[in-house]
Point group: C2
Chain length 426, copies 2
Amino acid sequence: MNSHSVFASIITIGDELLIGQTIDTNSAWMAQHLNQIGVWVKRRVAVGDNREAIWQTLDEELNQSDIILITGGLGPTADDITKPLLCDYFGGKLIVDPSALNHVKYVFEEILKRPLLERNLKQAEVPDNCTVLLNKRGTAPGMWFEKQAAGTDKKKIIVSLPGVPHEMKGLMTDEVLPRLQHAFKMPRILHRTLLTAGAGESFIAERLQEWEEELPHPYKLAYLPSFGMVRLRLTGIVTNENGSNTIDQLFSELKEKVKDILVLEEDIKIEERVSQILKQKEKTVASAESCSGGYIAHLLTSIAGSSAYYKGTVVAYSYDAKENLLGVNPNTLLTHGAVSSETVKEMLSGLLSRTGADYGIATSGIMGPDGGTADKPVGTVWVAVGKKDNIISKCFHFRFDRQRNIQLTAAHALLFLLRFLEQEEA
Amino acid sequence: MNSHSVFASIITIGDELLIGQTIDTNSAWMAQHLNQIGVWVKRRVAVGDNREAIWQTLDEELNQSDIILITGGLGPTADDITKPLLCDYFGGKLIVDPSALNHVKYVFEEILKRPLLERNLKQAEVPDNCTVLLNKRGTAPGMWFEKQAAGTDKKKIIVSLPGVPHEMKGLMTDEVLPRLQHAFKMPRILHRTLLTAGAGESFIAERLQEWEEELPHPYKLAYLPSFGMVRLRLTGIVTNENGSNTIDQLFSELKEKVKDILVLEEDIKIEERVSQILKQKEKTVASAESCSGGYIAHLLTSIAGSSAYYKGTVVAYSYDAKENLLGVNPNTLLTHGAVSSETVKEMLSGLLSRTGADYGIATSGIMGPDGGTADKPVGTVWVAVGKKDNIISKCFHFRFDRQRNIQLTAAHALLFLLRFLEQEEA
């Protein structure tokens, strides 16, 4: 971060964030997109539906940042206090905005086909000293305020957006980001990210220590461990033209240093890389899931265009389902148990013949909290991957809670398949 | 919020939060659990890996709150600056804690079976003026500091925790929450939440306006719209004994007022309610998913103990898979298309006979961004629910992006099944 940077604060409003009823996904999305246009997010603050708290937070953040983005607190119900507050804060008065009014009427009459209430009309009220940003996806408009920073010729920008994620995203994309690019001369924030597997954070740090210490200003390296793998992120904020040459060169050096544990050279998910390879080979994939319970299917089908390479999934929890839906031999289940190399291999082989998929993944394990034995404690998971004439399997030992074990199983099963696909290429 | 409340601030540290690489799920979990013991979270602040920013945030939050919980910035790599900073902030010096050191050695030698590095030993270093909280699930210990508030006899408590979610949760549950309960005399924060479907936020607000205005202090109502449904939350912070009688009475009134649109009387998920009913009836469920891509399976199997009532799922994206795995008649697909009442009904019927499940859900739709037609635009989804001799179907029209359409489909399909199960009971 250097003196040329444009700084932003994100303020999210709503008691639901403070009592933990809602997970804030808006801030991450906003930060990502601000970064892409060269804005560095300095702080993110969540405050309750409380006038004094919001006022004070606005004061604090205006002291620090050039841009303040506010989400939440604009709905039609009584717990919303943001709009009158903003009106007072910037010394304006509430007026009805004709275009916002037309839009509210249109949404109720044409889309929702519900009668329009007095309180919906109030959504078209805005402070008279803001620029109204039309919200195509909802009824609460966005509001754009500008303020001269005290004692300077610098301008501060404050934008209030609804908290509903798809409305916020639409307004950011259509209105806020283009306007911000126009309002400031931005530096470029460059990131290069890779994913490693098979070595711990401290081991990687040991290996990279010297190189990291010699990184030129303003580049820095961050370690992001997740699900037993470690993501490495190289970041630089640059104003000159050559920034991307330098970061690309540094990134090449980094890749070379971790090449034995390198999984991905981009900031994408493992399932995205799997889908790229399958599309390129024009091959298909399917999954037979016991313990992962459909989560691998969900990850594979969350990618747009997945119908090109994804065939289908059978989630078979019970012995019955493993026999009937996947053709697992009852003797295999009796002799080796559901959580065994033999069972996952038969699940996969049955899946491939039933779906006609070229490649597949099968999982069976004990996710907890119950179901563990001395032999096979909670966290024991067998995974098979491969194709018709070449199926391999592997046992994993995870720990801890159910949710995490499901995610770990999916991540490592997809990595296992990715390695299989890469081996074939080699 | 009244003067008897104990206030907390949550500070999360890490550039990954500010560039949007990570979604902060820790804060919501912490807030929920703080609430349960009577602590009101006043603010949540995310700051980067930057000494000045963290120092300033600590100053600000100590001005506002009795308790400061910090997560992140304690890993073994070079981007971690939190520990030396806390040491300086509270005027201590770093020493090696013998119990933390033994634990780090144990984790590397016995669990990870990896050689121990110099930098891992540093994880056992702690400021000499804190209480060390043993982290059973990782190597970075928690640190508990106490500070007299200037000019009063009130005590402020600052706790630093690792950012890895399951490590943070373990430390909170085992150490932090019990110690906080001991350190403060807590009020009780009472919440009652219900879920409605079928009426918009403003409509409900209109209906409840008078009642809401007459709510006695300190009770308040909040509206939380999500996925086309609206959650209503009644909250009160009370110090006397009768608080829960009062809130239960108010909650009964509220339920009565929305009984025609009431879905759930508790703050649980629809799939949890479905699972309760199935367990009680000793019946089983399965799903046949096209457009929801296994997400319904994931929701159903995320609940601990789901093997008691969950049979299995077939995710069938292609015509092939619908025919081979679910026995859908090719003529049905040709005549009516994959996204039709006829197809989802046949998917469900094939699923029920193949899995032997008592109840089931089937989905087929167009999630986007591609695949829409004039007839069936993106967001068109057919859902069937029911049992062998009674299958019903319904068409939904969602909009917008793929991720949201998948979630909307799952939520409304589960609600559709819940209504079916309730009808049977009636």
